[in-house]
Amino acid sequence: MSTRKLLLGAVFSCALSFAGAAAAADMTIGFSQIGSESGWRAAETSVSKIEAEKRGIDLKIADAQQKQENQIKAIRSFIAQGVDAIFVAPVVATGWDDVLGEAKDAEIPVVLLDRTIDTKDDSLYLTAVTSDTVHEGAVAGEWLAKEVAGKDCNVVELQGTVGSSPAINRKKGFDEAIASHSNIKLIRSQTGDFTRTKGKEVMESFIKAEGGGKNICAVYAHNDDMQIGAIQAIKEAGLKPGTDILMVSIDAVPDIFKAMADGEANATVELTPNMAGPAFDAVAAFKADGTVPPKWIQTESKLYLPDTAQAEYEARKDLGY
């Protein structure tokens, strides 16, 4: 059944490429997804399917189970099938030149989603759709600066995994945003490894180290999961997260919207799982009249506040986060 579909798709797309331009509605796109490493990744997969369906695109998803060799195999099979475009969420940054060269020889455009690759030859891919993690941190910092409006504020930071690029960049963006506000001081910064358990444990020690939490004005967490752990730690210390301590974090997963609706968190910056939508549009424009998209399409880092939290929670809870 599926082979027949694949064959049909391949024949179909060949016919179309002969015809010259393919409208979005008739495209077949292969997507080599990393795997299901996190809730966000699962949401990215389901949003990609929804966005493809909206545009009438036949999206074939290959789950690489966190292995590059599986991604390379998937890309080769997409080339053999003659798809119209290939999307890759690369699991690692290096080692893509050969297989992407094969795609280039077959004249199949490649779009990188969510992560980029290290290569000397950037003609190997059409464009990369990623978010700017430095900007995410900056949005969080700017929100805090506006919220405290000149009042003194001691911030504690829950960092992501030490040395990981989102942790480095989200710290950098936040630091830059608060640098011009002398009233905002980062008093403690420790890693919570992007997990709820560690976020809770680190927050417990921050509370003890800062006079039972009285010296803390705000918590900035590099992801929502650590923030959810921190919220529990603050509650167990007899304080009110969201009121006594301002809570701002990044990712916009459903559970943080639930916390915002309950008044326990104040703001989150979205890392959108919709990387495929802009990629589909770029490929469609490229196929239709050869419009070459910019090498980097930056997704929006949108700030969400409690007023829309309930609605956003309802909209996101079934996306597989």
Binding site: S36, E37, S38, G39, A42, Q159, V162, G163, R188, S189, Q190, T191, D193, F194, T195, R196, T197, K200, E201, V202, E204, S205, F206, K208, A209, D225, I228, G229, Q232, E236, A237, G238, D255, G320, Y321
Partner: protein
């Protein structure tokens, strides 16, 4: 075979208790309010309580790990079993099952995992490090299947109470760890079980020829380890009110092995002490909490930890022991 024997066999435990005291003292140096305690919502509140509470899961893992290591084995799968059992508990809690049903199911899963390891080691004679590696690797996949790749959250008051409630002011995980530790120590020392475990650890073939049913004893050790991991997994899930299949219990098997080693149990099998393994777990957690309180940049966490561990192991090494006796004689 009295209870006091467990202390005599493993020495007095003086090096372990001294290590713990030194680390607690160091914590007090970097953070003067380290020993401050107050009541918060009927629960003791302070850094010392954090050490006990956060150390409880590793302490519970260390109970089972001690028995396994005493048989000259090792159980690498405990972190993954935590993730599986936490996933089972959280999924059932969000489906609204009652607490006893959830606990029985999660413990049963832990028991089955332990039985699997035990059968591979005792019946198929696979080396323990390989046998338990299988579940270590596949376990997280199994947990992912149970949670369907999501972080399953729950609002089940009964399950939340496992980590969230307290007894005599102490957090429940601490009480569970102490009760399990004392019960396990009593079980192995007041019966012949401890002696049988030690004899298998020293020489399995000889023990078998001497009439010890080494197969059953080995399987029992891995089953106890699986059950301990299940308890730790339930506590971890209850603590964050959710099951995170990717991260629950991640690398905790290594902390548990370290706790056992710091507790003075020999990796070559034979000599062991469950109570000192609990002290070992507290040493590790006291160090972790101290690092968090110190305010050092997080890049230093692992370096500080590594240096302290090296010092502990050097101080406890046989060579250091011989050196101290040598200098005492002078």
């Amino acid at each position: 075979m009295s209870f006091a024997r467990s202390f005599r066999l493993s020495g007095t435990g003086a090096p372990q208790l001294a290590t713990l005291a030194v680390i607690l003292f160091a914590n007090w140096l970097v953070f003067p309010e380290f020993f401050d305690l107050r009541m918060q919502d009927g629960r003791l509140f302070g850094s010392l309580i954090d050490v006990l509470n956060r150390g409880a899961p590793v302490a519970i893992l260390a109970i089972g790990m001690t028995l396994v290591i005493a048989t000259k084995g090792v159980d690498l799968s405990v972190g993954a079993i935590m993730a599986i059992c936490g996933a089972v508990a959280a999924t059932m809690a969000s489906d609204g099952y009652s607490l006893p049903v959830i606990l029985i199911a999660a413990l049963a899963v832990g028991l089955v995992c332990g039985l699997w390891n035990g059968l591979l080691v005792a019946v198929l004679d696979i080396q323990p490090i390989i046998a338990t590696l299988i579940l270590m690797v596949t376990g997280r996949g199994i947990a992912q299947l149970i949670t369907e790749g999501q972080i399953v959250t729950f609002t089940h008051q009964g399950l939340i109470a496992i980590a969230g409630s307290s007894f005599l002011g102490l957090p429940m995980p601490v009480v569970i760890a102490v009760v399990l530790g004392v019960a396990a120590a009593a079980l192995v020392r007041l019966t012949a079980l401890g002696l049988l475990v030690e004899s298998i650890g020293v020489n399995r073939t000889a023990s078998t020829y001497a009439g010890v049913d080494s197969r059953s004893v080995l399987i029992t050790a891995y089953v106890v380890s699986g059950l301990c991991a299940a308890v730790a997994g339930i506590i971890a899930a209850s603590d964050i009110r959710g099951a995170d299949a990717n991260n629950a219990g991640l690398w905790l098997e290594l902390d548990a092995i370290l706790a056992v080693v710091v507790g003075g149990t020999s990796l070559f099998g034979g000599r062991f002490s469950i109570l000192l393994s609990l002290v070992g777990a507290m040493v590790i957690q006291a160090m972790n909490t101290g690092i968090l309180l110190s305010g050092y940049p997080p890049e230093l966490n692992l370096i500080v930890k590594a240096v302290v561990i090296v010092v502990i192991l050097v101080v406890q090494s046989p060579v250091a022991g011989r050196l101290t006796t040598f200098f005492r004689r002078r």
